[in-house]
């Protein structure tokens, strides 16, 4: 008996007798000799709780987290404040430990949470149908393009380079499976090039994919892009940051057919990238082509209001190879965090928070743009993130600048060169409600110094060369 089992010697004797077996090993006799391990698993022995806790603390201490530095790193996940009621609710056994609500009579809690979550996502996106969550943001983009394929059987998708690089990469990977070709639409001064989109559009285009705000932080003119796509009968897929939708127009009101996105900013932790959740919303006409779980309202035998998983004929456990998606286990617990967060933030709060991000981001952008050797990457309106160019040379130089900032306890942001050759000197800076004006001023101080140091260092070595 080790770990969490509880079979005593007495139990074992009794159970084997009832089974009619001489030993536990006997129960494994069906496994042919040829496929047996024939030795013990080669892993260290188990340890007591206190030792495992100590080991995981040691590993945690080797990471520089948002608690250890002032961070302006974003690029898809953001360091927002997670209110304490979320930890409390997500850690309640009743939410944490059940599985998919197959038995609605004892799952009304989870089912109603899904229904409320769907309502919140529909309201945010301006689209009438939301599912109960998908894995996360980038794979949601891939799932949306699959829905487009099922909807119009076309096999080409146009993707703006303003879409998160991970979303584009994931889409490309999944599209190979369902046989859809991907073409990219370039950017023009920070936003999707409308002319380039017009040029690329044709009647074989299944869908266009855009992001709001886009990866460079710029607000896209979704309306215009959507209109262009619709001219050719292509669906419009928009990946949106839900936390900006208090101040940005609802995609559903701008002609978007399918709105997906990363839900981490809604009360979920950074967790080094997951688990969080992806949301998936669409127009009414796609309701029977949606992937994943959907909760619906109904009544019980006594006429009480209740909720169930509905439209299950879309799903793999019923339709198997004809299902609209293979997704099964999704992100229910994280979606709970999302709807609790939105309830906590509330109708006024989501506007106030958006406004605060707008103002501080504007302040940060202007302040940094004023530094020597630093300038804006584009001049488009932004909400909580923006691009800069550092006049220090190549990508390695930018990394050295970031290292200097890190030593001063500042994480200055994301080096765009990792994902865009054209922005080898680019830096992406994110501002949340946790970054005060004082933090921003400190960033300016540290970044300015780091850029200056890098510049002089390189001229020195330049001279030396």
């Amino acid at each position: 008996m080790a770990g969490y089992t509880s079979v005593t010697a007495e139990d074992l004797a009794h159970m084997l007798e009832v089974i009619g077996a001489g030993s536990i090993e006997e129960l494994f006799d069906v496994i042919p000799a040829g496929v047996r391990l024939g030795r013990e698993i080669d892993l260290p022995a188990g340890e007591p709780e206190q030792a495992v806790y100590a080991e995981l603390r040691r590993l945690a201490a080797r990471n520089v987290s948002a608690e250890d530095e002032i961070t302006f790193l974003g690029a898809g996940m953001y360091d927002h404040y997670v209110p304490s009621i979320i930890d409390m609710l997500m850690s309640r056994s009743e939410f944490l430990t059940p599985y998919t609500p197959y038995q609605p009579e004892v799952s009304q809690g989870g089912l109603q949470v899904m229904f409320e979550y769907q309502t919140a996502i529909s309201e945010l996106t301006g689209l009438p149908v939301s599912n109960a969550s998908v894995y996360e943001g980038p794979s949601a983009v891939g799932a949306a393009a699959y829905l487009a394929k099922l909807a119009n059987q076309r096999r080409r998708v146009l993707v703006s380079r303003g879409v998160h690089p991970h979303s584009r990469a994931t889409l490309a990977t999944l599209a190979i499976g369902y046989g859809t070709a991907i073409d990219e639409i370039s950017l023009d001064d920070g936003v999707t090039d409308l002319a380039a989109l017009h040029a690329a559009l044709a009647d074989d285009v299944s869908a266009i994919v855009i992001q709001q705000p886009n990866f460079l932080g710029a607000i896209e003119d979704v309306q215009a892009l959507a209109a262009a796509a619709h001219e050719h009968g292509a669906l419009v897929i928009c990946s949106a940051d839900p936390l900006t939708l208090g101040v940005l127009e609802a995609p559903g009101n701008q002609g978007v057919d399918v709105c997906v996105g990363e839900g981490q900013t809604l009360g979920n932790r950074l967790d080094f990238g997951g688990p969080s959740f992806g949301f998936f919303a669409a127009t009414q006409k796609h309701i029977r082509a949606m992937p994943g779980r959907i909760a619906g309202e109904t009544t019980d035998a006594d006429g009480r209001r209740g909720f169930v998983l509905t439209l299950q004929t879309r799903e793999q456990h019923i339709r198997r190879e004809k299902a609209t998606s293979n997704i099964c286990t999704s992100q229910a617990l994280n979606a709970l965090g999302g709807v609790v967060y939105l309830s906590w933030l509330g109708r006024q709060g989501i506007v106030e928070l958006g406004e605060l991000m707008l103002q501080r981001t504007h302040y940060a952008r202007e302040t940094l743009d004023a530094l020597d050797g630093v300038c804006k990457l584009h001049d488009r309106p932004v909400v909580r993130e923006f691009g800069l160019r550092l006049d220090v040379g190549d990508r390695a130089a930018v990394t050295r600048v970031l290292d200097r900032c890190a030593q001063a306890g500042i994480n200055a942001g994301f080096a765009l060169g990792h994902e865009y050759e054209e922005y080898a000197d680019g830096l992406l800076v994110a501002i949340t409600e946790l970054r005060s004006r004082a933090d921003i001023d400190r960033l300016a101080e540290v970044l300015g110094a780091a850029v200056a140091a890098e510049q002089s260092a390189s001229t020195v070595s330049g001279a030396a060369a």
Partner: protein, 529 residues
Amino acid sequence: MSPAPETQTPQQRERATTIFEKGAPGRRAFRAPPLDVPPVDGLVPSALRRAVPPRLPEASEPEIVRHYVNLSKRNFDLDSGFYPLGSCTMKHNPRLHERVAALPGHARLHPLQDPRRAQGALELMFNLQEALAEIAGLPHVSLQPSAGSHGELAGVLLTRAYHADRGEERTKVLTPDSAHGTNPATVTMAGYEVVKVKLDAAGGVDLDDLRAKTDESVACLMLTNPSTLGIFDPNVEEMARIVHGVGATLYYDGANLNAVMGYSRPGDMGFDIVHFNLHKTFTQPHGGGGPGAGPIAVSDRIEPYLPRPQVVRKAAWAPTGERGSSDEAANGRLVGGPPTFDLDDDRPKSIGKLRGFQGNYGVFVRTYAYIRSLGAEGLKDVSEVAVLNANYVLARLKAEVGDMLPLAFGERCMHEFVLSGAPMKKQLGIRTLDLAKRLLDHGMHPPTVYFPLVVEEALLVEPTETETRETLDAFVDAIAAIVQEAAEDPEIARNAPYGTPVRRLDEAGAAKRPRVRQVLTPAAPDGAG
């Protein structure tokens, strides 16, 4: 036979209301930090600015807390009772895992943090890759997939990339009739045609049918072993021979790995690709339907195609700051010695990315803590007790209600087993569904029902290793009592449950006129009122 009005429970008395129906205009929980920068107007052009603010709830913190706490009480959960949901491995979720996952060094670590400043996370992922490789018996692991079906998709796409790289075009994937729904669904999404393989009399794959359907057009055979019937297929070696004979790959659906740890590994069985359900075998809490994680382990020939990035260990780091500055100066702030782990994105033959960032790290932390807690011996104990418990329940049910609920195939089982409610339906007039609903009144979650499809009125029971003998006995006694009760009065089960907050819901009606969101009252553009 619903409870008399005056004796109803508070939950039964109270009508369900959503958070959108609670609160009142102007109520709030959030308070914004003060604006500490000079305000500027019109930062968002009005054309792009939202006209009507989203009609989110307006409620105080006490209202929100009470609302969701009360909702939670309308759930049945594993911490409260037996949950033998077949195929889902509902084992105890240690709270240690929640504690360590919540450490800020893990929970507030940004996924794009410079690898030199995320060495703890990378070390953990690297160690986990190694551990999973050993458990699978396959040398290479990618942690990226978000769940089992995501891992399946990765596996089939890897197969496609593998064949494509060798200039082969294949069109079919084989799945047995007992396969989980995600298998065929995955095959379709990956652009292959599903070919079903029959089962033999023992519930295993029919070798003749397999041979008949296996040719050069077949890319892969997806197999769950032990199968969803709880049966270990003794012909797995022969199947491998057949499938490999035509150059196809053998995919292992790892959902049932809990049955064989320490005894046999997918790699030993000849599989090329395996997915793990960390939320099953490795006890990530199920969260009401996720999150989970579905890492994959593969053989050497599949390795080049694994998703990017991979976590790698390297001898040493080239300091980014040349010009002989110290490691510290060169690499920025370092914690706990020089970095040795990195993310490798440079994988030319990779199928690319299946999702953002590096996967569900929070799940990895829990899994790693679990493996460290149990160790080799503990993992073997897991499978031994899982199989022991399943066979004990099976043996007792045979003795108690064997005539009404016979075992679908064979004599014994691995970690789970499938009964057929067909005789019970015929002789007592209650269906497997009724039995399941009545179990709720006994404070237990029913087993999986009506899956696998190959068994009529199926009842798929998976007790898991963390349940006590007393609990297993209570379950058997409850089933026996229900069957007994039904023999006297089948109506009781047909109308069950009684003590739950709601009773038998109208699912057909829900699907006919889907109401999938609350319809909110229109609001004035200024968002007030």
